[in-house]
């Protein structure tokens, strides 16, 4: 016997009130103004105050009623099993089973999942006759039974579910509560007369996604009764020692080798005492590629890191595993699987500000042609976008996550409302190459992207019209600055000598911006200027990349120039790429409606908005 609302016992203090009233209460006489008072003799009995308990029977009745009321408010529950508390009166119950991964933890050889079957059976047995019971699990694909008077249905469903292989993707117990409440409400609607007490029995473990996630009530009138799958609620048993691979992820390590990846992660040791050493294996393509020993403290983390060179072309399956853990009480969390790709594709999106039907007049024809001929053509993926396509993508909430380098070629200026998204994306790691032309509006650029421009744009200038240089009609390109990262390791001539540029864009000098000139004209004016912005990089070409202002694209040096600029702009940051997601890592997806997730085994999970993670 236990009480759902033991605090209500304070109501017993109220028992003193009738007692006091009967003991001390002075009977207030009813007053009459009576003309015949003279004939009411003084010798008649005059009672002014009670000195002893009067109306003993009434007092007992009042005390008993108050006692019953208080006891009813405390919601006593009967306990058929020492661990299981069940409401003592017939009621509607829903068993909510925790299907989370941690329920596979074995204690004394019996998993919590199996233990919850016994616990559920104990509850079903203890339910008073006349109760109805239903079943829900936090496994979205798990069994679900409507409320019914026959507990055997539920028992059989639980047995079947426990016998089946555990599946990933369970909700927290708290997230499962709405389904349990819906089941109770649904049953209540069907039988309006039977709408009495309703209780959710939540069976789970003590983890944060289990009983610890539970609120005290599922709804205003539906209490949640937490039931430990194993052990007692008030005395949680210690967690048996087990190891899990907390995280494992990889990033390209280009500074070592174009095909190098760095794989890092952490091992968590739950419970235990003292330090414990164990081996972590890196398995690539089924073969053990590396092994590292880590020492994990009790209830702590141990970090590890591998560097692997030579991941093949295309994605290579790999896994990180904890070795020699055959007897771990919680199997299944000792390995993480990864797909390694040493060569990361560079996604280049070119926004064509001056498209033309004639290919030779098209703004990006020369750039696309040059890149296709370059040595890195295999890993470059070039897409062309119209300005409105770019704006539409950004407005739709697409953060250009799959674009590594964005080229704005002779774009008038990005629309005002998409500029913040562009800045944010560049700060997060995207490369941005801006080339100018007739259509560029300096003021709009400065206003919208001024924050990330290497230098603010001033105005286009026809070469030779500048004061003191009236005799020249074109500008050449000076040899590149070999200290600039774009031209790092350049051997010999770039091949831009003899370039004739007729128009250039003037820039606002501003030393505080930290811009670096990679290439300049023979006059000293910057031709290619760069600047890091956040985790991304920005390059600005002060002339056009087609033949409108310059013959630069016709020069042999244009191909290596474009290739180097793009390579430099591609920061290779994992977040900048489409994003590598490791199973178990949270991934936030922006969407308005429910999201349908297709699992590898062909199932479809529809996630309600609050459960989307």
């Amino acid at each position: 016997m236990s009480l759902l609302a033991p605090l209500m016992l304070l109501g017993l203090l109220g028992l003193g009130l009738p007692l006091l009233a009967h003991l001390r209460g002075r009977e207030e006489p009813k007053r009459v103004r009576f003309a015949g008072l003279r004939f009411l003799g003084a010798s008649d009995e005059v009672v002014t105050q009670r000195r002893r308990v009067r109306d003993g029977l009434l007092l007992l009745l009042r005390l008993a009623l108050l006692l019953l009321l208080v006891l009813a408010l405390t919601r006593p529950v009967s306990t058929g099993d020492a661990r299981v508390a069940v409401l003592g009166e017939p009621h509607d119950a829903v068993l909510l089973l925790d299907a989370s991964f941690s329920m596979n933890l074995a204690r004394d050889g019996v998993s919590l999942r199996s233990a919850s079957e016994d616990t559920a059976a104990a509850i079903l047995e203890a339910l008073p006759p006349g109760s109805r019971v239903g079943l829900v699990t936090t496994d979205p694909g798990g069994p679900r039974r409507e409320l019914g008077a026959d507990p055997e249905r539920v028992r059989a469903a639980i047995a079947e579910w426990v016998a089946a292989a555990p599946r990933a993707g369970a909700w927290t117990l708290e997230s499962g509560l709405p389904r349990a409440v819906a089941l109770l409400r649904q049953a209540g609607e069907g039988q309006p007369g039977a709408a009495g007490r309703r209780v959710v029995y939540a069976i789970g473990d003590f983890t944060g996604r289990g009983l610890a996630s539970l609120p005290p009530t599922a709804a205003a009138d539906i209490p949640v009764l937490p039931v430990a799958a194993s052990g007692r609620l008030d005395d949680p048993p210690p967690v048996p020692e087990h190891m899990s691979l907390e995280s494992a992820s990889w990033v390209p390590a280009r500074e070592i080798d174009p095909r190098a990846v760095r794989i890092s992660g952490a091992v968590r040791r739950h419970g235990g005492a003292g330090e414990r050493g164990l081996a972590v294996l890196l398995r690539v393509d089924g073969e053990v590629a590396a092994r590292v020993e880590v020492v994990a403290p009790a209830d702590g983390l141990a970090a590890f890191e591998f560097t692997h060179i030579g991941a093949g072309v295309g994605p290579t399956p790999a896994s990180v595993e904890l070795a020699e853990l055959a007897d771990d009480p919680l199997p299944g969390d000792e390995a993480r699987h990864l797909w390694l790709t040493g060569e990361d594709n560079v996604e280049v999106a070119i926004v064509n500000g001056d498209p033309s039907e004639m290919r030779a007049h098209d703004e990006v024809y020369f750039l696309a042609t040059a890149l296709a001929a370059s040595a890195s053509a295999r890993r470059l993926r070039i897409h062309s976008l119209a300005p409105d396509q770019l704006a539409a993508r950004l407005r739709d909430g697409d953060r250009l996550a799959d674009v590594d380098v964005l080229v704005l070629a002779n774009l008038r200026a990005p629309a005002e409302d998409i500029a913040p998204a562009l800045r944010e994306r560049v700060a997060a790691g995207m490369g941005l190459w801006i080339s100018v032309g007739d259509r560029v509006e300096a003021g709009a650029y400065n206003e919208r992207l001024g924050e990330l421009l290497p230098l603010l744009l001033r105005e286009p200038l026809v070469v030779g019209t500048a004061p003191g240089r009236s005799e020249a009609h074109s500008e050449g390109v000076a040899p590149p600055d070999l200290t600039h990262p774009i031209f790092l390791g350049l051997q010999g001539e770039l091949g831009l000598l003899g370039t004739r540029t007729r128009r250039v864009f003037l820039l606002e000098p501003d030393p505080s911006r930290g811009a670096e000139v990679a290439l300049s004209f023979t006059s000293g004016a910057p031709a290619l200027i760069s600047r890091p912005f956040g985790r991304g990089r920005v390059a600005l070409l002060t002339t056009s990349i087609d033949r409108d202002w310059s013959d630069l694209p016709l020069r042999p040096g244009f191909v290596p120039l474009a290739e180097r600029v793009l390579s430099w702009l591609d920061t290779g940051h994992p977040g900048a790429a489409a994003g590598q997601i490791v199973a178990g890592e949270p991934r936030r997806i922006a969407a308005d409606g429910p999201v349908t997730v297709h699992t590898p085994d062909g199932r479809e999970l529809v996630l309600p908005p609050e459960a989307r993670r």
């Binding site: 006489p29 007053r31 103004r33 015949g36 004939f39 010798s43 008649d44 002014t48």
Partner: protein, 320 residues
């Protein structure tokens, strides 16, 4: 309060009673006496319809009054003499003590008494009689209107006095002592009271009251005690386990507390003895005692009172 007598009357006399008054008269069995002409037979000879007798003619008498037929029979000159018709002086002594405030709605004692008093005064004034009244209220006397007088303003003044809330005690000895010298000859004195406790300070107040009234009677006044009681006072209806606290509405006696069943028998016994003493005392002193209960119809109470004054047997419904 309006000075209009009709409105003044309407305030104290309910409509059914006013309807009853239409065409009725205040008639006394015995002759009245007074300086003003009226409708009541007088003790003295004068102008009237009622034959009184013959007296010998003496020179100087009005020859028109000679009864020639009697002269023929008696062979000497005789004059025909008739009873005079005089106005009746009616004086109302009203108990406005707190004890009269008992009862709710039409059952209120004061309201009942006021209706009867108002009706009597209306009747009297309508037939040319003269009415005076005095009240004892809150230990004081209100004697301004004591000397009988005719006319509508007197009725308005009476209504005004009757509408005031009764409170405190009524000093009966002082009231009677003050009224006695002001009474014209052969007045009709009507006391309106419950007569339950005339003077809380005097244990012998009942006998003294009767004595004082007997003195008035002996001077030739007709004295009528209109005793207005409430049914609760006659029957003591309280019962059950509740504790009751009985307070004196006059504020003169200590309150009594107790359970009604334990008080009831003694009360009824004492009350019965009191009423019986009162009846016998009135009978002995030649006073009229007219008892009415406030839950009875006013019409019956008034008819009973008029019948008693006229010397007729009381209608059955007028008896309490």
């Amino acid at each position: 309060m309006s000075e209009d007598p009709a409105q003044a009357l309407a305030a104290v006399v309910p409509p059914e009673l006013r309807e009853l008054l239409r065409g009725r008269q205040l008639v006394l069995t015995r002759p009245v006496g007074g300086p003003h002409a009226g409708r009541h037979a007088s003790t003295r000879a004068g102008l009237g319809d009622q034959f009184r007798g013959h007296i010998p003619y003496t020179p100087g008498d009005d020859p028109r009054r000679i009864d020639w037929r009697a002269v023929a029979r008696r062979d000497r000159l005789v004059l025909r003499q008739t009873d005079s018709e005089d106005a009746l002086a009616t004086v109302l002594l009203i108990d406005a003590s707190g004890g009269m405030a008992y009862g709710t709605g039409p059952g209120n004692k004061q309201r009942h008494a006021a209706a009867i008093a108002g009706a009597i005064a209306h009747l009297a004034l309508r037939q040319g009689d003269r009415v005076g009244f005095a009240c004892g209220r809150d230990g004081a006397l209100e004697l301004a209107q004591l000397r009988p007088h005719g006319g509508a303003p007197r009725l308005a003044a009476l209504a005004q006095a009757l509408l005031r809330e009764p409170t405190g005690t009524c000093p009966w000895p002082a009231l009677i002592a003050a009224a006695a010298p002001a009474l014209p000859r052969r007045s009709l004195v009507l006391l309106f009271s419950d007569l339950l406790d005339p003077d809380p300070a005097d244990p012998d107040s009942d006998a003294r009251l009767l004595h004082d009234l007997a003195a008035l009677r002996s001077r030739g006044h007709d004295v009528v005690l209109v005793q207005v009681l409430h049914r609760d006072e006659l029957q003591f209806p309280w019962s059950g386990r509740d504790l009751w606290r009985f307070e004196d509405p006059r504020g003169a006696r200590e309150p009594r507390e107790g359970h009604a069943p334990s008080l009831r028998a003694a009360y009824l016994e004492r009350l019965g003895a009191h009423l019986s003493r009162l009846e016998h005392g009135c009978a002995d002193a030649g006073l009229h005692l007219h008892r009415c209960v406030s839950d009875q119809p006013l019409t019956a109470a008034l008819l009973g009172l008029l019948a008693r004054l006229a010397g007729r047997p009381q209608p059955a419904e007028a008896r309490p």
